[in-house]
């Protein structure tokens, strides 16, 4: 049974067994990945995966089940399992959403590019081999390239419901990654770089290989610095990564469950006045652009922080219902998961400073170009404690590469301590449009 048939079949079986409130998500993904080592293709992976997830709503109680076997009998079993799972959920006053018309032309979101489909193993291998060759030419201290791959995928999703929702979307993308190892005496340093887009760029491999070596080379002689308080500049790659660990504080369900420090703080000043955080689901080419969310609710742009003022929580149907509100169109699910909240594309406007310019503002600062792990970052308390690598700047001059240090602070303090915004976003396909940030008040341990 294929993708289209499965979505039709699930509604017909639901009707047959008397289930009136059902929605289903069918997902199909095709992937191709090539990995390169020592001038040769080392591994090729190609796959097609298909899965169907159903939600049964039974007098305010939801139950979920999913299957990767798509035949009539298994789909019926999944529906019955979801129905029996719903018996045990505590009820919430919710109803399955009715179909709403989509106001935005999905083609304008630029989620799908036909030319990527033409790329085959040879094309991907060529890009990988060019990446490797470029990396090898860049620095004689390169001793290994343990990670080098090029991949592409197409994803198709279809959401249907017994209440008339019938929505499909299709997206594709291509990406490559390169992880290098440089050695000099006892020193070892790796550099990791990736590239991802929805459009093919035959030159991307060379740039990727060179940059992956440069990143290791720049930090190869890094040393620690003494513990102190110091301003930090997070570059345009690190700022979205660090901030993204804490955005779940903006979820209505997090506040309801006591896992958000923003609970009860709507309309309060939580950030510098220069900061507006916009969730924009309609950005052309955005990594998380959507016309409908995963419950079939039309999406719309929403400001979470408006000139420093906390202005909106994000909701799906159930979390909204708990506060007597409508969904804000932020439901997320995979075929094998329940409903949760998500952000779409998060946007902080760029400022006027180049990265070097930002580093010239304070007398002394640490430019962070690499975050090591996330385990010390607590999305509930907002605490930040994380190993970083980068460069020490004094009077606008780069004076030494730095590793073996941690930075510590709190996300909610960070929002109030931003002193400058960079003038660009990182160039890869992403759902985070957040520039480099100059932030005061971090403790550095070294």
């Amino acid at each position: 049974m294929d993708f289209q048939q499965a979505s039709k079949e699930v509604l017909s079986i639901a009707k047959k067994i008397g289930l009136k409130n059902v929605d289903a998500l069918v997902e199909r993904t095709e992937e191709l990945e090539v990995q390169i080592r020592d001038g040769k293709v080392e591994k090729v992976e190609q796959s097609t995966s298909l899965g169907l997830g159903v939600r049964v709503l039974n007098e305010g109680r939801s139950g979920f089940a999913s299957t990767e076997k798509l035949d009539q009998q298994t789909i019926e079993r999944a529906l019955l399992k979801a129905r029996s799972n719903s018996d045990f959920q505590d009820p919430v006053e919710i109803f399955m959403p009715e179909a709403e018309s989509v106001q935005v032309d999905e083609r304008k979101l630029e989620l799908y590019h036909e030319d990527l489909n033409q790329l085959n193993v040879e094309d991907l291998s060529r890009m990988g081999l060019e990446t490797e060759a470029a990396a090898r030419e860049t620095d004689p201290r390169l001793t290994a390239i343990p990670y080098l791959g090029v991949s592409k995928n197409i994803s198709e999703r279809m959401l249907v419901s017994t209440h008339g929702v019938e929505h499909s979307e299709r997206s594709n993308q291509i990406g490559a990654y390169c992880g290098t190892l440089l050695e000099e005496g006892e020193r070892r340093k790796s550099g990791f770089e990736f590239w991802s887009q929805r459009k093919w760029d035959p030159e991307a491999g060379r740039r990727l290989g060179i940059r992956a070596v440069e990143k290791a080379s720049e930090l190869l002689r890094a040393t620690s610095i003494e513990s102190r308080k110091m301003p930090v500049v997070l570059d345009e790659y690190c700022s979205p990564r660090l901030l993204s660990m804490y955005f779940r504080g903006f979820y209505g369900e997090a506040a309801q469950k006591g896992t958000s420090r923003l609970k009860g703080r709507l309309n309060e000043e939580i950030a510098v006045t220069g900061l507006t955080l916009l969730d924009d689901p309609h950005l052309p080419g955005g990594g998380a652009s959507r016309t409908l969310d995963d419950e079939g609710i039309p999406t719309k742009p929403i400001k979470l922080i408006d000139s420093g003022i906390f202005s909106h929580f994000l909701y799906h149907v159930e979390s909204g219902a708990k506060e007597g509100l409508s969904s804000s169109g932020h439901a997320s699910r995979n075929y094998d998961s329940g409903i949760s909240t998500t952000t779409h594309n998060l946007v902080i406007e760029t400022g006027e400073h180049s990265l070097e310019g930002l580093c010239s503002i304070p007398e002394e600062c640490l430019l962070v170009t690499q975050l090591d792990g996330a385990a010390g970052c607590n999305p509930i308390s907002g605490d930040i404690s994380i190993g970083v690598q980068g460069f020490l700047y004094k009077n606008g001059q780069r004076v030494q590469p730095v590793d073996s240090v941690t930075i510590a602070g709190n996300f909610f303090d960070l929002l109030l301590n931003i002193r400058g915004f960079g003038d660009r976003y990182q160039p890869n396909l992403s759902s985070r449009f957040i520039p480099a940030l100059l932030v005061e008040g971090f403790s550095i341990s070294g």
Partner: protein, 459 residues
């Protein structure tokens, strides 16, 4: 799960197209998850995962594909697509499939399917009530039961045909305490390779108390002043540091790429003589144990470091060939969607002879990291980072005030020789380990131990 004739045809197709080795991995898994939060049963989810992974090896090149469609023609076509990408090698003859029995060292006493949803819901509520009863400052409790029944079949062109069934049961309890300085969370997550009996025997009171106490202590705690200092690591999940900082770089997946500080160091001293470290997939009912690995080889006990000397890496088929060592039964994968690579199972530092009190008494100022949170490592450089879930300052040889927000960072091969004292209170703890073949259940473990100096991130 799939006809033997179909398996044979796939393997034959791969070999006749020039592959040196062909393998089929079939998986049919049932997963169920019951979740309680905010004193309510929140989401209940059941999943059936099914698919077939096909791997062809041409010398050092690997071709992997998978599909959830068991139709024979589809699988033959997939094999053909993989073969066309490969370069013809020196194909060896195909051996007929012969079913091999496995020694089932892990037993399921209570089949999860025989247990009602009501019993699960009642258990979750018991955890919630017990945890909240510890203090009014406990603001939130999240209790989750996760169960998985994983049936796998492995067939390869060397004639191997073997099936295994793996049942997993795991409880995760998270408590959030608030005492006016922001919410602080702590979690306990025990798990076994076994059936529902795990939940019937679980010590609700102890797990609830430990999660609540840890969160309450951290809600009261101040921040530690960062810097390089001696650290005493608590037993059990403290072993996550060895797992990340030394275990991953000892996998042939890192060694074969010359991307580990332990390359070429077999037989050399890498730690003080007090340290012996083991990776053992045969421990009964342990979360990281296996009857057979995901290439069909019986699981083993592998001594990694013995009295400070590096003895072995952990290998899969490709790694063993390239590093020129025996396979250690360590090939693992999250599901049919991943090709197998060498991974850890139950990895631990063995008991030593030092007493915990002597370790604390030997520190003038430092950190006692009683419970660790998660962490990660760059295997190529050995650079690691870890969060401390529950920590205390050590002052003048005594455990002093609780501290929060601490992280430990360093390089594995540099920290290993600085482990100077090892206790005799070995405990193991369940965790999930992520790497190139996905997330697999692993156990970490150690007795209490002292690291003479390590960088502690704080404020």
């Amino acid at each position: 799960m799939i006809e033997q004739e179909t398996l044979s045809k796939i393997l034959e197709h791969g070999i006749t197209k020039g592959a040196d080795f062909a393998e089929v991995f079939v998986e049919d898994s049932l997963t169920s998850s019951f979740n309680l939060i905010d004193q309510k049963i929140d989401q209940i989810q059941s999943s059936n995962s099914f698919g077939i992974g096909i791997r062809l090896l041409y010398g050092d090149e690997a071709y992997y594909g998978y599909s959830s469609d068991p139709d024979e023609a589809n699988l033959i076509k997939l094999t053909g697509n993989l073969s066309e990408s490969g370069h013809a090698g020196s194909s060896e003859s195909l051996r007929p499939l012969q079913q091999q029995p496995i020694e089932d060292i892990h037993h399921v006493a209570v089949n999860p399917e025989s247990v009602s949803g009501r019993e699960r819901v009642d258990l979750l509520r018991k955890f919630d009530e017990n945890t909240r009863s510890q203090s009014e400052a406990i603001q939130q409790v999240n209790a989750n039961m996760h169960e998985k029944q994983r049936k796998v079949l492995i067939a390869n062109s060397e004639g191997l045909l073997v099936e295994d069934s793996r049942d997993y049961a795991r409880m995760r309890l998270s408590a959030i305490a608030e005492k006016g300085d922001g919410p602080q969370s702590a979690a306990e997550s025990p798990g076994v390779l076994g059936g529902y009996e795990f939940f019937r025997e679980i010590d609700v009171e102890k797990i609830s108390r430990e999660a609540a106490e840890s969160a309450l202590l951290m809600a009261d705690a101040g921040y530690i002043e960062g810097g390089t200092m001696p650290v005493v690591l608590g037993n059990g999940f403290g072993g996550v540091i060895f797992h990340e900082a030394c275990g991953h770089p000892l996998e042939t997946e890192a060694i074969r790429k010359n991307a580990s500080p332990f390359c070429g160091k077999l037989g050399e001293r890498v730690a003080q003589p007090v340290l012996t470290a083991i990776d053992d997939g045969t421990l009964s009912q342990r979360w990281g144990s296996l009857n057979i690995d995901d290439e069909g080889l019986p699981s083993k006990r592998t001594v990694l470091i013995e009295n400070g000397v590096l003895k072995s890496y952990l290998s899969d088929r490709i790694g063993a060939k390239q590093v020129e060592m025996e396979r250690t039964g360590s090939a693992r994968r999250e599901s049919y969607k991943f090709a197998p690579v060498s991974r850890m199972r139950n990895t631990f530092i063995d008991n030593g002879k030092d007493s915990f009190d002597d370790m604390i008494a030997s520190v003038d100022f430092g950190l006692f990291a009683k419970k660790m949170g998660g962490g990660s490592v760059n295997p190529a450089t050995g650079e690691f980072n870890f969060a401390v879930q529950e920590g205390y300052a050590i002052r003048k040889g005594k455990i002093a005030e609780p501290v929060r927000g601490a992280t430990l960072i360093g390089k594995g091969f540099e920290v290993l020789p600085r482990i100077s004292m090892i206790g005799n209170d070995l405990e193991l703890a369940a965790g999930m380990c992520g790497a190139s073949s996905g997330w697999v259940p692993t156990t970490v473990g150690q007795p209490s131990l002292k690291i003479d100096s390590i960088l502690v991130g704080g404020r």
